[in-house]
């Protein structure tokens, strides 16, 4: 990453926004005044002393649930995006380098998977197999793999035709060396950008899943779940819905801005 990265407004805004959401999600559990399932106030009670965000549909503290409910979204989003990055990169490199039947098979499978909208694919698996968090993570990453695969494959094809890769072939470097040391470093920047985008998609999908009732099981706290639980009282206690919405927006928007900043700061530094 180049030195000009932090000078960009997108980078600073992205860090600030996603930083707030991440801080709430990671450090929040330490500061939550109440437990996620503690009934401590009136149903749909407004902001009060010790409860700046008021109470939810069962009279639980919204602030506490907000601070406790980010962790699940964040770890699941990061894990699914990271797993997809890992698997997609390996498969994409193999497809580009091997070519021929391997390439056709991998690309064809990716196209079939891409035909399913991400959320539908995840819903299908969860409805059939249950709502285990790791299962959700695996399914979400499966939905992301084709995108990474196709990105890495096309980038690697462009790099592989350059002379330094031919030079490595001529010198008889082992194939793993050509893939990991010559080609991979030259596709990393766009991959990093894609990772940021995947993070924000993952947050949206995972929250959507919770909202639809297929994600984290109540009474555990979760931002998506909170929106669903409290939407009936939107007029009486809007904060119970708006606070988790704001957190999801901050995280998704911040990740996206960071991705864009990475793309911009590297646009001028790529080789000719």
């Amino acid at each position: 990453m180049s030195r000009g990265f932090l000078r960009q407004p997108q980078a600073r805004a992205g860090l600030l926004l996603s930083g707030i959401a991440l801080l709430a999600a990671l450090a929040g559990p330490l500061f939550a005044p109440h437990g996620a399932a503690d009934f401590v106030g009136a149903v749909y009670g407004g902001p009060a002393q010790g409860a700046p965000l008021g109470y939810d549909y069962l009279g639980r503290d919204v602030l506490s649930r907000l601070l406790l409910g980010g962790w699940s979204v964040v770890w699941m989003a990061f894990s699914s995006a990271f797993l997809a990055l890992l698997a997609g990169t390996v498969l994409g490199l193999v497809a580009a380098y091997a070519g021929g039947r391997t390439d056709r098979t991998l690309s064809w499978s990716a196209d079939v998977l891409l035909a399913f909208p991400n959320l539908i694919l995840v819903l299908l698996v969860v409805a059939l197999l249950g709502r285990d968090p790791w299962l959700i993570v695996l399914t979400a990453s499966l939905a992301f793999v084709p995108g990474v695969l196709r990105l890495v494959r096309s980038l690697a094809l462009g790099v592989a035709e350059q002379e330094f890769v031919e030079a490595a072939e001529l010198l008889g470097y082992p194939r793993w060396h050509v893939l990991l040391r010559e080609i991979l470093p030259n596709v990393l920047t766009p991959l990093l950008v894609h990772f940021g985008s995947m993070l924000s998609w993952a947050v949206t999908i995972l929250s959507g899943l919770s909202f639809l009732g297929y994600g984290v099981a109540p009474p555990a706290a979760d931002w998506g779940l909170m929106i669903n639980e409290n939407r009936a009282g939107l007029q009486a206690q809007p904060l119970a819905v708006l606070a988790p919405v704001l957190m999801i927006v901050l995280f998704a928007l911040g990740a996206n801005l960071l991705a864009e900043a990475v793309a911009r700061s590297n646009a001028g530094t790529e080789q000719r």
Partner: protein
Amino acid sequence: MNAPAKLPQLLASPALAVTDLHVTLDNGADIVSGISFELEAGQVLGLVGESGSGKTTLATALLGHVRKGARIAGGAVNIAGHNILGTDEKTLRGLRGKLVAHVAQDPATALNPLHRLGRVLGETLTQHEPSLEAASRRQRIAQVLQDVGLPSDEEFLRRFPHQLSGGQQQRLLLALAFLPRPALIVLDEPTTALDVTTQARILDTIRRLCESYGAAAIYVSHDLAVVYQLANRVIVLYAGRMVESAPVASLFTRPAHPYTKGLLAAIPDIGKASAPRPIPGHAPGPGARSAGCAFAARCEWRAESCGVEPALDEIGAGHRAACGRPEALASGASIRFIDLPPAPPARAPLLEVRNARAWYGERQVLFDAGLSVAPGECLALVGESGSGKTTFARLVAGLGAQGQADIRYGSALLDLQARSRSAEQRREIQYIFQNPYRALNPRQTIRATLRHVLRHVLPGVRDGDQRIAQVLAKVALPSRVLDSYPAELSGGERQRVAIARALLCEPKLLICDEVTSALDVSVQAAIIELLQQLQADGLAILFVTHNLGVVRSMADRVLVLRHGRVVEEGSTDQVLEQPQHPYTRTLVGDSPSIRAFQPY
């Protein structure tokens, strides 16, 4: 052509006047400094220097533009009475093209691949002369296309850039530059990527256009032979300063500055069979310049008085040089030529190729070609672009995608794919690519690149770092490049790294694909000298090139390829002095030469 009425100053003032121009890096190091000169309409100025001399920086500064990380620190640039540096970017954008146009080095990347030629030309003209009617617009475009020697019919205008050859693309860029009838045209090595025959035609076109359009032109180049053919005046840049400025005839007959003399001696020329002489050492980069004369460190006339920066003094009619040693300026004896060693006696060939055929898609590009290289021999493979010479070399190297050939190396048959050859064969046959910008992994330091070679090709080696230091010294690179990334090095430095990578393998056969075409003459001479030394140590070289001057100075034998067929083969003297095939005669006749001006 009449000067546009809007610019009455054109007649009163020179087309271009540069006064005390300074360009510095953001950290204060100067890239070019103290540049002052004038240029009349219709004249061509050659701007000559090695890579890193600041010639491209100076050329783009004339357009009011500097690359990122640099700024114009002072001075004035006046084009047809307009002060370019005092004008804000928005006004400047409107003036560029009309006042000053730029022709880039690589035509392939300068044209938008999605726009048809007619649209590109039309938009350029509308941009600068929006009031022009459709009929006269078409006429202007037809006229300029005719002037640059391109067809102007509907079919041609509907083509896309990729449907043109390299020479045609460069002609189109010239047409685009001359279309708005600018007062000044800046050409940044526009013929580097072209073969000699095309280059000769393009140079001729440029000179004619400048005369008929009354435009002044700046021609940036490291190729003195080309500048000699084209320019009226020459400015020699060294380390960002003007060291000599003279009319072309005066510069080539009476070069004054020791650096200019060195440059002239370093040119490989088709007219002389002696080895070109490299200038020892390398030019200092920005910020690394010592006080006083920047060339002193490499100068054989160095004395104490060189500690003071010399002024650019008048030494003849219109001839100025910046050197503090009058006896150096007066000396003509500084250039001596070394005679070539006699050709090695014929031996059993190291490499023998027969029946080489190759296809590019459906099209056959190589027809039953053959060659043989003896140990320690240098064979030049010569031809225009598209003649199949690179395809042939790649086939031998083991990079041929679609081809067949019987390749015998030593006593063994060689597989066509490098991966299927033995590790020993792969190590002994090394390939150096034409384009140094793409031949090194941009994400690895030079040290990492070289260490990978040692690890995979010579796994048992213990004194790796020492060997790396040795090959770097051999290719005249300072050890500081080890921690650089390729993007931080110039094209010449990158090519030298690529050669160092090959030498590290201790090869027996070196296949060089146009390796000197991207290098400065002084570096080119050093590389040729280096390759000759290696050849004397028993290294065989297959040298692919379109530069007959380089062939003359280093090859033992020449093989001429045309349309994928071998049309002539023989010893270098024989082929260049008594070419038999008509095609070879054309090639020899089109090669730029400064022989007429060598006073020795």
